[in-house]
Amino acid sequence: MLKLEAVHTFYGPVEALKGVSLEVNAGEIVTLIGANGAGKSTLLKTVCGLPQATHGTITFAGEDITRKPTHLIMQSGLALAPEGRRIFPGLTVLENLHIGGFFADKSRLEADLERVYTLFPILKERRHQRGGTLSGGEQQMLAIARALMSRPTLLLLDEPSLGLAPLVIAQIFRILEAIRQEGVTIFLVEQNAHRALQLADRGYVLENGWIVLADTGANLLVNAAVRKAYLGG
């Protein structure tokens, strides 16, 4: 469904991705783990074309999207819940969701709202509140819900557990499982490697812009190198 082949991304002279190849198949949950600064966020953003890859190709649903403008990529069935949530703080929860479904079919809007309200009932309660007044966990839920409003077939998530309490993290991971049940493919970037590998079918380990390991989630969980570097021994 999503395929990266030898993708390089630069920030000016800094090479953040040094030839990354990976694949996400329809129906999977695939995770990408790695230390701070490894290039995980860059990888997700490169898929979205912001920044664009300098070399290599990215295909999504059979189409080469490497040089496609970001807004068109995001209209083709891909959605991102970015690092740091980046909800619109001055817009209400409902307005945030409307923006998420900006280009979606108007006639589906109510159904799409009901769908995300079912997954995140708290958002329905808070729908007329400004995004900035939500708690961290609620903002993360809003970021995921906003991404779902475009009815993506592939959901990209960048560290959804960042800065959240364990109970809230557990709740969010349960919801990710539910989203997968609905048929959405998930590509999950995490520093919380333990939880991510437990949830994922397959995982990749990124270090300094390289993929250094690729295996099933279960195998990575017991891999000695992974345990040492990412799971605290």
Binding site: T70, H71, M74, L80, G84, F88, P89, G90, H98, I99
Partner: protein
């Protein structure tokens, strides 16, 4: 009623008139700044062009023998808004879009170039001197005792206030309720994120230039009608004043631009009446300095929302 009180009322009327014009122009500065974080240096010229289109259309309609004043006014506003919006759109296309992502100085310089070009373009086409027109709406009301100080409220001043309120209300509704208005607000908060949600942010940027130009056109038409004559240089001072109003109100904030325009208009009006006309600009800019000293974000500006 005492002369002092009537004099005060007169200054309020004059100040609100001037302030309405400033506010209409200021919105263009504030909206563009809100989204791309840059000042549209050609905006004063856009307003000047709006005024020219207005005067030319009115003159043409008069020559055609049109009698109905409301109809003439409506047609003039519509044509000026359409033509001026196209200029606003073109300024963005030529001076800003090709330089997206380059250092901030680059679009600033190209916009100043655009502004000089537009001024010369109008000068070549229409001459550098004043062009004038017959007043469309003359007369007004006088209040106060015969022989004493009388407050004069012209029909034109009422018209300016009414038209301004109508357009402000339309804009506010559009920004707060419509789909594209929502996209504008989202872009103002986090343009990259809006893009990552599938919004064509270039289109939103174009829209803000167009909306700003439309309101500047309204201001230009009203000024043409009010003063009865215009020249290719009116955009410069009006641009600086409206920019001041936008900063005063809190650049990036639409209600701020409205308030800033009114406050600036009133300040100038009172300064010319009670100090001297020569000091009105000093007082206006002095007020700006004071506000920025004590409220660096302007009257209604929000402190920068921290972006994660």
């Amino acid at each position: 009623m005492s002369t002092t009180f009537l004099g005060f009322i007169q200054q309020v009327i004059n100040g609100l008139t001037l302030g309405s014009i400033y506010a209409l122009i200021a919105i263009g500065y504030t909206m563009v700044y809100g989204i791309i974080g840059m000042i549209n240096f050609a905006h004063g010229e856009i307003y000047m062009i709006g005024s020219y289109v207005g005067v030319l259309v009115l003159t043409a309609l008069t020559l055609l023998g049109l009698q109905s004043v409301p109809l003439m006014l409506l047609l003039t506003l519509v044509v000026s808004i359409l033509v001026t919006s196209a200029y606003g759109w073109t300024v963005e296309r030529l001076a800003y879009r090709p330089l997206r992502g380059s250092p901030r100085l680059a679009p600033l310089i190209s916009a100043i170039g655009m502004s000089i070009f537009l001024q010369n373009y109008v000068m070549l086409g229409q001459g550098a001197r004043d062009i004038s027109m017959q007043p469309l709406i003359a007369g007004g009301w006088r209040f106060g005792a015969e022989g004493g100080f009388q407050v004069y409220l012209s029909y034109m001043q009422v018209l300016i206030a009414v038209v301004t309120v109508i357009f402000m209300a339309l804009l506010t509704l559009y920004i707060s309720r419509s789909r594209m208005g929502r996209a504008c607000r989202a872009c103002a908060e986090d343009r990259e994120m809006a893009n990552l949600l599938g919004i064509d942010t270039d289109r939103v940027i174009s829209l803000t230039f167009v909306l700003g130009a439309a309101l500047a056109a309204v201001a230009g038409v009203l000024v043409g009608l009010y003063y009865g004559k215009i020249n290719p240089f009116i955009g410069f001072v009006a641009g600086i004043k409206a920019f001041t109003a936008a900063v005063l109100g809190g650049i990036g904030s639409i209600p701020g631009a409205m308030l800033g325009g009114i406050v600036l208009g009133l300040t100038e009006s009172f300064a010319s009446a009670y100090l001297s006309t020569q000091y009105k600009d000093v007082v206006a800019f002095g007020l700006l300095v004071l506000v920025l000293l004590f409220r660096p974000t302007g009257l209604l500006g929000k402190p920068d929302v921290e972006k994660v």
